[in-house]
């Protein structure tokens, strides 16, 4: 089956990120295709390039990036939710006159239309809220 995950909880504030990551791995382990993970609302903080948790704690940003790379899963970040929270890729940082950027590949800023599209072309869309 084609699965998609919608993640709306911030890392280290709620369990949502851990739940979503564990579910994503289980989906792939059962032989399903994970079409994409869509990060929305406070969930966009999962894409924070500069996140530096203690070394003996799970690194959620790296874990998502590894999952995306290993299984070719697009990591889609709502651009409207991200920009207002200070999460900008290099292009948006340049556009807004910011000195640095806080989002990088494999995460990609995208529009909410991508979430609608994801819902339409996936067999299952599972939401993890805060």
């Amino acid at each position: 089956m084609r699965y998609a995950i919608l993640l709306m909880g911030a890392p280290y504030s709620h369990q949502a990120s851990h739940s979503a990551l564990r579910f994503a791995r289980a989906v792939l382990a059962r032989g399903h295709r994970l079409e994409a993970v869509f990060f929305y609302h406070d969930g966009v903080h999962n894409a924070a390039r500069l996140a530096s948790p203690p070394q003996d704690e799970p690194h959620l940003v790296d874990a998502w990036a590894a999952l995306g790379a290993e299984h070719d899963v697009p990591l889609l970040v709502c651009i409207a939710a991200a920009l207002r929270r200070g999460l900008l890729d290099s292009r948006e940082a340049s556009r807004h006159g910011k000195a640095g950027h806080s989002v990088e590949a494999p995460f990609e800023l995208t529009g909410l239309g991508q979430l609608v599209d994801l819902g339409l072309r996936s067999d299952r869309l599972v939401t993890f809220g805060p």
Binding site: Q15, A16, S19, R22, A26, R124, F128
Partner: protein, 96 residues
């Protein structure tokens, strides 16, 4: 059949009541995160209207030291079983 997913404890939130009210006759309900507290004998009464259709996620029970403390009416599933429940349901609804 839909799968309803609840991540809040019935001791601290009312979303379980909204979920149970919204459920169809064949729908199932899975407790995850703090929601697994609803599987305890002292809280399971909130789900008495959905006999045989209440599930709880083992990993979240383990994280809270609650394995083996669930009411006998609750079916405990691991994350693989969670995915299987989503396979069997046409849609999922998350309550939080």
């Amino acid at each position: 059949m839909k799968l309803h997913i609840v991540n809040r404890s019935p001791a601290s939130s009312q979303v379980h009541a909204q979920a149970v009210t919204a459920m169809g006759p064949d729908d199932r309900l899975l407790l995850i995160e703090d929601g697994v507290q609803g599987a305890l004998p002292q809280l399971v009464r909130y789900f008495e209207d959905i006999p045989g259709r209440l599930y709880a996620l083992r990993e979240d029970l383990e994280a809270r030291g609650l394995v083996g403390r669930c009411d006998a009416s609750v079916q405990v599933v691991d994350v693989d079983g969670f995915v299987q429940l989503t396979e069997e349901a046409e849609q999922t609804v998350s309550w939080y």
